[in-house]
Amino acid sequence: MPVSLLEDSSLLGVNVGASTTHAVLFDVVDGQYRFIALGQAPSTVHAPINDISLGVHQAISELQKVTGNIFIDDSKQLIKPAQLDGSGIDAFVATMSAGPTLRAVVVGLLPDVSIESAHRLAHTAYLQVVETIGLNDHRRPYEQIDAILSAQPDVIILTGGTDGGASRSILKIIESVGLACFLMPKIKRPTILFAGNQSLIESVKESLQNLSPSLRFSPNIRPSLATEDLAPAARELGRIFSDVRKRQMSGVDQLDAWTGERLLPSAYSKGRIIRFLSQINGSGTGILAVDLDQTAAIIAAGFNGKLSLSVYPQFGLGENLPGLLNYTKIENIMHWLHLDVAPTVVRDYLYQRSLYPDTIPVTKEDHAIVQAISREALSVALKQAISKFPPEANVTNNGMTPFFEPILVGGGICSESPTPGQTLLLLLDALQPVGITSIILDQNNLLPLLGAAAESNNLLPVHVLESGAFMSLGTIISVISSASYGTRVLRANLTYEDGSNSEVEVKFGEIEILPLGIGQTARLSLQTFSRSTIGKDLGRNSTLQVVGGVIGVVIDARGRPLSLPEDPAHRREMFNSWLSKVEG
């Protein structure tokens, strides 16, 4: 039985996003933790306010209105613990994603060892690596110093050397780091994280202690050549994120104090809950969580307690949006459009939205463009993340997404789609799941807060996840086939609990839906044709139990990897047919 430090207690969680601040109340109902209510307000992170506390107080105030409880006193302080009069809260957690992308310099020794791990570490927070320095860097020390100075980093990640291993080379590079910091104005000096050879900690302290506003240490991310352990360093990097934000904007220090100095990046917290779920899942099947908002695209994959967390600010839908074109072409975005829009219009939209990321699409055309951009951004992010998955993910080299069950989808994606059907099609296109899986929406952005809560209360996330606080879209059956368009590839027969049934024959290139409501179960019989498959464990004929959702049982017979027609008119026609199918 897991131990809960907060059993029978209420918990208030606040997540400060780039555009919206959420305040969420969890409490015990009938012996189980439940998501009770949500209050939200626009985030107040931007100028001229530059103070997150205004948005935090407004979101909590909205929550107070909804619940009738009082959490904040007249002096705007959190009432903690809960009082006998019913006011206050027993526990408080907070996460944050708002703010500009942090600039990072990565220092290590070998490109495919410590430097690669350091890059992976940087991707666990809202960081963009702007400079890398390593053993194979042939620049002279003073050129490295100038490179660090021109990078203007918020954070420097120092790695290198296995524990007890190489020290001289890394100390030489650290010398350049120290000199670069010395040359920076004190106010602009970066926070430094040392996550390398642990025998160098004292030397690093001696060299850098007075040259950084905050010098932090974590266990070595590469304790041996064959071992990578990012988890402790990622936790430390999460705290660094909070420290930098405290220096950048008002109100963060108060929020951090309310959490007992446990304010963490939303993405890190989300990753933690995915790792936790993959651990308790224990089936060997990976769990995937994806999100896409102004700040970043986030891909968190858990495999038996091992987490692969990738935060890509360069694929976020905010200020960095034009940077997406450094990773893909405008033609690839055009491929996802279901309306006839000129490439110049798409390009203009992409740039204009980067100026005003808070705006929302009003017209059908603009909405189609946003959805196309989201598909491409998420797809590119997933491909990059997959390349870093651990061996447990069983990544194949055929360009297909590994098998995940379930796939959890963050609130950022939900907010851009007016209907669950549109969200579903976006996810099917961008993620291209394989086998039989379920897609679950976190429409209230609970996952980061559950991750934060899990640190001190491991019952709460489990109870809330089982409580129906999330919206299941249904079960997805993905067909892999080399058949030509229009060829019959699958017959599906769904037998409901009352004995009635529903049958459909699916041709290659189609999406079909079998209705099955939220929480309902049914028996699904599948028969494949034309050498089509659903998964390696399923034969030509198979029967399984499936669970319904808002959409039902979705059969995606468009093949994997998805290949869209080259002819734009034909492609749009197909998109519209798929759209009308998922929209019911």
């Binding site: 555009s19 626009p42 107040t44 992170v45 931007h46 100028a47 001229p48 306010i49 530059n50 703010g99 500009p100 002279r140 020390p141 003073y142 110093i145 100038d146 100075l149 021109s150 010398e175 000199l179 010395f182 040359l183 104005p185 950048q248 904007m249 200020e319 034009p322 110049t344 390009r347 203009d348 939209y349 992409l350 740039y351 204009q352 939205r353 980067s354 100026l355 005003y356 990321p357 808070d358 705006t359 929302i360 699409p361 009003v362 017209t363 059908k364 055309e365 603009d366 909405h367 851009e416 007016p418 209907t419 549109q422």
Partner: protein, 351 residues
């Protein structure tokens, strides 16, 4: 709900901080009247560094090397000048291969700044110094018209405003740029191509005020030495009518463009300042507002991006938009009399 404010004002008090990129000397005094081209601060800025590792060169310990170094911090060193000399019967002299200033000595090494650049900070706008920030710069106050934009290339300059448009969506091409425009700030609509920018630079002009700029031209525009500001953003948008009227009515006046990049976190926006002679005190603009009926507002997104209207009412609850998304909206009367529905997040207050 709080809403961003976009300043398009015919007469206001503008206070702007002008700072050196590194610490230096401020050359103006409190209450001093300055012109845009007046230098208000100077600094020496070295973008490059040079490290002489005596330890490595002489193959000795850092502490031994320290004892051999003959220069100190702040010493100016010429190329070929001695920086360390070894002991022994035949002493070995270590010389600097570069000219520069010593910034650090220790651990057997000498770190020098090289490629010294003198930075002169100009006032950028006419006005009065209302605060001196020691070693960094000053705050200057002026009174005049203020027009904020959406995109800027980071440059700053001042010149006579020359209107090259008949309407706000006119396209400027290189053939219309002649020597008579040398030193001018040009008010244009859209740009035809990169050649137009290169021709403007060759003249040279002192600045370009555009309605919007095509994404394809951004890389070239970023490299131009003169300031470029796009009032309504990126794409093919005509200039909003309030800004256009204000700019055209101030043609032939001395105008400053500070084309700082738009940054939501710091609040900086590219802007055009046109100082005007006034005798009475003028209030400074509000930086933050709440949406209210009767306000002049500007649409920040399609289908009416850049259009100006009057906020008629704020609807309660959520309204379904043509895109299918649901949002809090306002009813806005456009200048042509049409009433439209706009999500609150797509609005900014003009004022």
């Amino acid at each position: 709900m709080y809403a961003p404010v976009n300043h398009i004002l015919p007469l206001t008090t503008v206070e702007r901080e002008r700072l050196l990129p590194v610490s230096g000397t401020v050359t103006v005094k409190l209450d001093q009247r300055v012109n845009p081209t007046d230098v208000i601060g100077e600094a020496n800025w070295s973008r490059e560094h040079y490290l002489i590792d005596i330890t490595r060169i002489l193959r000795i310990t850092p502490s031994a090397a320290d004892r051999l170094i003959t220069v100190s911090v702040d010493d100016r060193i010429s190329e070929g000048e001695q920086v360390a000399v070894s002991k022994g019967i035949i002493p070995r002299t270590i010389r600097s291969e570069r000219e520069g200033r010593v910034v650090a000595v220790g651990d057997g090494q000498i770190l020098m700044e090289t490629g010294d650049t003198s930075v002169k900070l100009k006032a950028g706008m006419p006005g009065i110094v209302i605060q001196v920030i020691p070693n960094k710069g000053a705050i200057i106050r002026t009174v005049g018209a203020l027009i904020q934009g959406s995109w800027g290339n980071g440059r700053i300059d001042t010149g006579m405003l020359h209107n090259m448009t008949e309407k706000s969506s006119d396209v400027l091409d290189a053939s219309r740029l002649d020597r008579s425009l040398r030193g001018s700030i040009i008010l244009a609509g859209l740009l035809k191509d990169a050649d137009t920018l290169h021709t403007a630079e060759d003249l040279p002009v002192r600045g370009l005020i555009l309605s919007s700029i095509s994404p394809n031209l951004l890389p070239v525009a970023q490299k131009m030495r003169f300031p470029i500001v796009a009032i309504d953003g990126i794409g093919q948008l005509p200039m909003n009518t309030v800004a256009y009227k204000l700019l055209t009515s101030n043609a032939k006046r001395e105008t400053t463009i500070n084309a700082e990049a738009y940054d939501r976190y710091t609040g900086t926006r590219p802007e055009v300042i046109i100082p005007l002679p006034v005798s009475e005190e003028t209030p400074s603009p509000n930086e933050l507002g709440t949406l209210q009926p009767g306000q002049t507002v500007r649409m920040r997104a399609a289908p009416h991006a850049g259009a100006i209207g009057t906020l008629a009412s704020l609807r309660s609850g959520l309204t379904t938009l043509p895109s299918g998304l649901r949002a809090s909206v306002a009813e806005v009367n456009l200048e042509n009399g049409e009433q439209i529905i706009v999500p609150l997040v797509n609005l900014e207050i003009v004022g």
